[in-house]
């Protein structure tokens, strides 16, 4: 039973799986960034791009093991990114409120950006998409890690113990 439990968190022995995922992960992340950046004039957006970014990190956890993935992006980093994205979203909304418009009324951002109302709306939506993408990516990875480790996070403690 322990072999089944470790299946999702252990480093894979298969050279084909590791090579294919090593080649695939950068392209997945570039595609996710494309989806986020083109969210306001094509299908997709912050949520879908964030899910694809999260899926690329989940693939890293499955193939290269939990320890290697957490060394690249620790548990604390997930929490920081999750809340930073929400702050970006709410911050842009409150900024529009402060500048005299409604919540998330991007046209008011023209007063600090000086690029014209249409361009200010476009940039405002882009900022919100980036915030949503960060939050969704961190949340997806956190949910996956919580299921896989059973909420114990014993491996995270081991890594911190080795560093200290």
């Amino acid at each position: 039973m322990s072999g089944v439990n470790d299946m999702m968190t252990k480093q894979s022995d298969d050279v084909i799986v590791k090579t294919v995922s090593r080649l695939l992960i950068p392209f997945m992340q570039i595609y996710a960034l494309y989806v986020i950046a083109h969210g306001h004039y094509s299908p997709g957006g912050g949520f879908q791009g964030g899910v694809i970014l999260g899926a690329s990190i989940i693939l890293l956890v499955i193939t290269y093991g939990l320890d290697n993935a957490l060394r690249k992006m620790s548990e604390k980093m997930h929490i920081i990114m999750c809340s930073t994205g929400a702050i970006i979203y709410a911050g842009i909304g409150v900024l529009c409120l402060i500048l005299g418009g409604n919540f998330l009324d991007y046209a008011e951002l023209d007063q600090i950006l000086h690029v014209g109302i249409a361009q200010a709306r476009s940039l405002g939506i882009l900022g919100v998409e980036v915030g949503v993408g960060m939050t969704v990516m961190a949340a997806m990875i956190s949910i996956f890690l919580d299921i896989v480790t059973g909420g114990l996070h014993s491996k995270e403690k081991n890594i911190q113990g080795k560093r200290a």
Binding site: M8, P43, G44, Q48, V51, I58, I62, I143, I147, G150
Partner: protein, 81 residues
């Protein structure tokens, strides 16, 4: 919209849904649910809701399947009923 294509996709969706409920192996049920999500995604695209189809493909067939497989790997693979 092509109603013949709609009908075929609906048929596949219903077959996948019934198969996912009835199969005893839970890992097989998860994979059939992924296939269900992909047919659903094709149906959304065919109806013109590309944004919904994108969400269905990335969440339903991508991350959802991975989360279900993780849950199955932490519990038993066979269902009792």
């Amino acid at each position: 919209m092509i109603w013949q294509l709609d009908l075929i996709l609906c048929l596949f969706i219903i077959i996948c849904a019934i198969a996912a409920i009835n199969v005893k192996d839970l890992l097989a049920a998860v994979i059939i649910l992924g296939a269900y999500s992909f047919f659903m995604c094709l149906l959304w695209t065919e109806m013109g809701a590309v944004d919904v189809a994108f969400t269905e493909a990335s969440v339903g067939a991508g991350v959802g399947t991975v989360l279900f497989i993780a849950a199955v790997s932490k519990t038993k693979r066979r269902s009792k009923d």
